[in-house]
Assembly symmetry: C2
């Protein structure tokens, strides 16, 4: 149905730019690369055997947080994309609840699954040391804190949550490629939920200043190159059968739906989640080939978020997609 | 001794640039501004009365973490300065231990006092929920976690630690000015320990794109203006009697000491702490009018840091400075 039918669905993929991006990107290091690949291989093997009721398990890669673009090789300054990682973290919880195994590709330091409703510094804000030198949780936070710790541990322990951190755009795209290649074998049971805020622009490594840029004299001019679009190559080459959802964030509502629609067609996504910076915690619009669906958080329940109905819709559509492929 | 003797010690201060920076900076908001000023006033009042042994209390403003420079008014992208905030957080602990009251002006999300030796996500990495649904700390982390929670609470409870968060360069410099003006009354008992990584360049608010910059076509050129240097105005006008230490971070050792020395003279600092990106956790060089002092962490003790001997040296010099002024 939604699967691709050969390369005619795609605009021309800028293979030369993509090759040059990866060739010039600083390496993750042999040891780190081997470790990530092994963790992925084990995770996919464990989660690709049929579950107890005989149906194939599903695996989703959730990306979360913003990527950085270094301005210097020995990096002191960088360009960053604003993202708390809240959407990715909360969505991960709902995917786990729906029975998915989740590869959580997240920006170091951003919001973690099960922690999205806790204070910024839970250790300092939620705990006390009693006179008997025991650590206690404030009554007001007790249920949430216990839930966060035990649900997180349980997901890790049963092998259904793999967390992989990134910081730079170079790390993000290299690791995303490893994940996609390892999830390829899952066919339509694989999903990509690309909620990370990925830089559109970067400074190519070889044209980057080696040392900290000096502020001695006058203004600073920076020229940024476009990051080659990786979504088409993810869809066409890395994991062609996977169900793919990308995100579009704009601050200008006038161009948001147009841009989301363009992304749907240009990158051959199955769904594009359009969100506007100011209202993104209240509602999103899911753009599909068959029309747009507005998802709002349940205003009648305090604490209800937009991720719960969003993930529910996506899981339903993923089920339909899997059926259509078998 | 080290106090300034009139304006001849300073290069010409760019008052017009500074005025234009503050005039065009987005406001913190009336409510936020009032709250910060009240907290500061109460904190300084509480900590400026003589202590039990009759000596005047000392107050240090420790700045920590990097400032961001928004590239768009409805900010999605920004330039950031790399800084974990570890140095500021660890130094705050030693200043508190030495009897100082500390105003901790920190970048939201960076390292907090008493947490500098804990894992990144202490909640998820240090705790477990037992079968009786009690929260317990792993044995390996127990002492550090208890220490962090109780020492932090104690410092807040006895009123000797005031934490003020910032994100952007605009917030940082506005709040720093409030702090300096409120600490002015402390004379030589005030200290500024300016460990934050402050942007040298910014996009003036009025010339900033309103909406998210579009990636439609070709490379992106950004012109950044220089942030006017605020150190001379802090020294000359905001808090002229305060003891001032600034930090200089470079990746190129060849220019580090020269730049630190220049900062000492140009901004009339009492000390400049020179650190090189790669070795900054092992050693720093403290540049003063009377020569340079190399401070190394105690290699014979695992877990010893460079901040302990650094703060010890600075406290000694501050004592000498106070004596010289009375």
């Amino acid at each position: 149905m939604d699967a691709i039918n050969g390369s005619e669905s795609f605009e021309e993929i800028p293979y030369a730019d993509i090759k040059s991006f990866f060739d010039s990107a600083p390496s993750l290091g042999d040891a780190a690369e081997t470790k990530i690949k092994e963790e992925l291989e084990n995770f996919i093997r464990r989660n690709s055997s049929p579950s107890e009721n005989g149906t194939a398990r599903r695996v989703v890669c959730v990306t979360s947080g913003g990527t950085t673009v270094p301005l210097e090789q020995r990096c002191v300054r960088y360009i960053d994309n604003f993202s708390s990682g809240h959407r990715g973290a909360a969505s991960t919880e709902y995917f786990l609840k729906a029975g998915y195994a989740v590869v959580f590709l997240y920006r170091k330091g951003t919001c973690q699954p099960y922690c999205s409703s806790l204070p910024d510094d839970p250790l300092l804000e939620c705990f006390e040391v009693s006179s008997e030198s025991n650590i206690t949780v404030h009554q007001t936070h007790a249920e949430k804190v216990k839930g966060a710790i035990s649900d997180h541990r349980a997901a890790i322990a049963r092998g259904s949550l793999l967390k992989l951190p990134f910081t730079t755009i170079f790390e993000y795209l290299q690791i995303l490629q490893f994940i996609a290649l390892s999830m390829r074998s899952l066919g339509p049971n694989a999903m990509f939920y690309l909620a990370a805020a990925v830089s559109d622009f970067y400074v190519p490594w070889e044209s980057m200043a080696l040392h900290k840029i000096q502020s001695a004299s006058g203004p600073l001019d920076i020229r940024l190159a476009q990051v080659p679009k990786m979504l088409p190559v993810l869809r066409k080459d890395w994991a062609p059968m996977a169900f793919c959802i990308s995100f579009k964030l704009e601050t200008d509502t006038k161009i948001l739906l147009e841009k989301a629609d363009m992304a749907l067609k240009k990158y051959n996504m199955h769904m594009v989640v359009a969100n506007e910076l100011k209202t993104r915690k209240e509602e999103v619009i899911v753009v599909t080939k068959n029309g747009n669906i507005t998802i709002r958080r349940d205003m009648t329940h305090a604490g209800a978020d937009v991720e719960e109905p969003l993930v529910k819709l996506i899981v339903d559509r993923h089920s339909a997609y899997i059926s259509s492929q078998s």
